[in-house]
């Protein structure tokens, strides 16, 4: 299992390193490139967890489409210099960091303490063996989750209409253009 854990640690290192890059890099475009690499790392984790199809979708949709949109918008803006990249106020920031620390330690604590419980619930319902995970996934989407699927279709239509309409608005109540 040594190779497995080395791979896991390498991927987690990459993900956390680039995620920190998003947090720390004051240049928004560089932050966006960092986020792309973090998402590629997440796709690697999906592949590693035998969910290749989701890994591919992660690459195609997240890294290849959503992030292209982010980078394009940032390039259109071309912010000359980033005014206050980080929030001001020493006390407030300390509070935020403390809150984050509490959240992460609570989660980790919970995870470690509950390790026995998960073993009990696994093996409850095994996937059919011999069939491709992708096909089971597709079957589920088009039978059990078909309503959610159709609603998502309508949601995407609404988002398309909404995005076009928002970009048509000429400044709203502050109109000067």
């Amino acid at each position: 299992m040594a190779g497995d854990s080395i791979l896991f640690y390498a991927l987690s290192f990459l993900i956390i390193y680039f995620a920190l890059g998003v947090l720390m890099n004051p240049n928004p475009i560089k932050a966006a490139f960092n986020l792309v690499l973090a998402m590629v790392g997440v796709a690697g984790v999906f592949f590693h967890l035998q969910s290749g199809f989701l890994g591919g979708v992660q690459l195609a949709v997240y890294a290849g489409a959503v992030m292209v949109l982010f980078v394009m918008v940032l390039m259109i803006f071309d912010l000359k210099k980033e005014r206050d990249a980080f929030s001001q106020g020493f006390l407030g920031n300390i509070g935020k960091l403390l809150a984050a620390g509490i959240v992460v330690s609570l989660v980790i604590n919970n995870v470690i303490l509950s390790s026995d419980l998960q073993l009990a619930t696994s093996n409850a319902a095994k996937a059919e063996s011999g069939r491709d995970t992708t096909k089971i996934l597709a079957d589920l989407i088009f039978t059990e989750y078909v309503f959610a699927f159709e609603v998502l279709g309508i949601l995407l239509l609404l988002v398309a209409i909404g995005a076009v309409s928002i970009s048509r608005i000429k400044g709203g109540t502050h109109a000067d253009s």
Binding site: A60, A65, M72, I76, F142, T143, E150, G153, L157, A163
Partner: protein, 123 residues
């Protein structure tokens, strides 16, 4: 079992090769004195008017946003395409076909609306 190790190894090879090329040719090339003029960006010899790119049309961004939405709808068709034959043999093919039919109808309405609303017009 599919492993991602070879993918990572190939990525490492490619990146290593690329960095090697960039670094080595950077060292091999002649080092001529740099002048201010040389550092300017190349715009066919005309004096550089604006270094920024402040006049980029919003169209590009609108195209990208519509791309994302349609891309996801297409990604939904991929699992459907590979499982469709199985569902026909399983006896619930019509249901799956109709589910995708409704989805495609929404897709077509969206596309029709985008074309109608001239969001995709480029002058």
């Amino acid at each position: 079992m599919a492993s991602i190790v070879p993918v990572l190894v190939l990525t490492a090879i490619v990146v290593g090769f690329g960095i090697f090329l960039v670094v080595v040719t950077g060292m091999l090339g002649p080092k001529l004195p740099q002048s201010e003029l040389k550092k300017k960006s190349y715009e066919c010899g005309i004096e550089v008017q604006e270094t920024g790119h402040s006049k980029i049309p919003i169209k590009f961004y609108l195209t990208a946003i519509l791309f994302i939405l349609f891309d996801i709808e297409i990604i939904f068709m991929y699992p459907w395409a590979v499982t469709f034959a199985d569902s026909i043999t399983g006896g619930y093919g019509l249901q799956v076909l109709l589910a995708m039919g409704v989805f495609l109808f929404v897709f077509i309405v969206g596309l029709f609306w985008e074309v109608k609303s001239k969001a995709l017009e480029w002058e």
